[in-house]
Amino acid sequence: MTKQTLYEMLQQQGISRRGFLKYCTALTSLMALPPAMIPTVAKALESAKRPSVIWLSFQECTGCTESLTRSHSPTIEGLIFDHISLDYHHTLQAASGEAAEHAREQAMKDNYGKYLVVVDGSIPLADPGYSTIAGISNLDMLNETVAGAAAVIAVGTCAAYGGLPHADPNPTGAVSASSLIKDKPVINVPGCPPIPTVISGVLAHYLTFGSIPELDDLGRPKVFYGQSIHDRCYRRPFYDKGLFAETFDDEGAKKGWCLYRLGCKGPMTYNACATLKWNQQTSWPVESGHGCLGCSEPNFWDAGSFYQALSIPDGDYAKAAGYAVAAGVVLGAAAGYANQKIKAESAAEHTEVSVDDFSLNKKQ
């Protein structure tokens, strides 16, 4: 870990104060903080130190890393990665085998208690053999690495909630990183994959302020996940008006109406796609005409068909209803039969009323 602050590093690269201010402006926007925070960000960066980052990839598809590298040309986000020390990332690093593992151990030793761990992918608990790195089980590597970490960032839905490996029937016994880590702060950055600028935004926040951002109930940074897709969707006015596309190629779809009926999970999905968008702010799923899948929510793979409206129940209710009808008819017939019997009994017990039986007549 160098002793230099970020600002000093930028200065060394010949970046002007003006450039630094622009960097801070972009970073503030990246972190989804209000522009009024720019001076605070600038001040924080003047004293921020370069952290060591260890990136652990478990049961994953590399989509999250792909997402991140898509934003990794010489950009402002790129600068962040220039100024963190990515000491271990077995997909990206040049070293392999023992050398790679050595790098990880070295980084842990050098920065014990101060480094950041990024986890990408879920951890299999059913049999460690499902996923190992250098002969070390994912669980062991996680426990070992996290022991000396300052904080953990669970990148992607797999690391945050179990994701695809966790989906029913979950053969590998996959679990999320946050369910295993109890004594370190964990920031969940879900998404399948997460928006690249959200990943860098979270890293930037740690880098800038040396602390973790405010999190919601699901451990997600509120600045990015505080509002639902639905709340910020530009198609929301159509939902409010009751104008819905019913098929992917109908008039409604062409006019850009709400995709609720086509299965959009936007109302229950908390993410920043609607504002940050994807591919350098080009577009995002709903803008491309496809409903939100809800990929940043727990168990989204098991939350019903991607093409069924949110209000439609899942499960075996149709089969159960069939049994219920049969049971209802049988039980109802039995109850009806029992009632007939009670009625017949009461008729049999009927004692004919005669006027002589009235006590009023007996007294006389």
Binding site: R17, R18, S29, L30, P35, G256, T282
Partner: protein, 140 residues
């Protein structure tokens, strides 16, 4: 990215029939901020990327604000443009990176955006450089 950027792909934006309704609230916010600037010298910025827009709606905002008397272009870590809109004191600010990808988009309500001013540190640096140059044998 093999030198090919997404910005290079031509995207056709069709005029939308729908609006998010953010246009009106932004303009109201600008109006309030202008008043604050005049009365209390309070500057205000709006991050346009923090709110949803339907495609084409941002262009509509830009054309509503229009172009005023000043256009400034900076060149630091990529291009930055500052357009004073036809509403004096309302600046449309765009920051780009070296790849010409937009990295920030703001409306600033101020006399002149802070970043346009020459910065003290940079002036100091310039002074040092000039002093060095004058003292050296590298005189012009």
């Amino acid at each position: 990215m093999n030198g090919e950027s997404l910005a290079g792909i031509k995207v056709q934006v069709e005029t939308p029939e729908y609006e998010t309704g953010n246009l009106l609230s932004i303009i109201s916010e600008i109006q309030y901020a202008l008043q604050q600037l005049l009365e209390h010298k309070k500057v205000h910025s709006i991050d346009l990327r923090a709110m949803p827009w339907s495609s084409g709606e941002e262009q509509k905002l830009a054309s509503y604000l229009g172009k005023g008397e000043v256009f400034i272009e900076l060149n630091t870590l990529g291009k930055s443009t500052f357009i004073e809109t036809q509403f004096s004191g309302v600046w449309l600010v765009n920051h780009y990176n070296q790849e010409d990808e937009q990295i920030a988009k703001l409306i600033e309500i101020t006399y002149l955006p802070e970043i346009v001013f020459s910065q003290k540190e940079d002036i100091k640096n310039s002074l040092e450089r000039l002093q060095t140059a004058l003292s050296d044998d590298k005189q012009p």
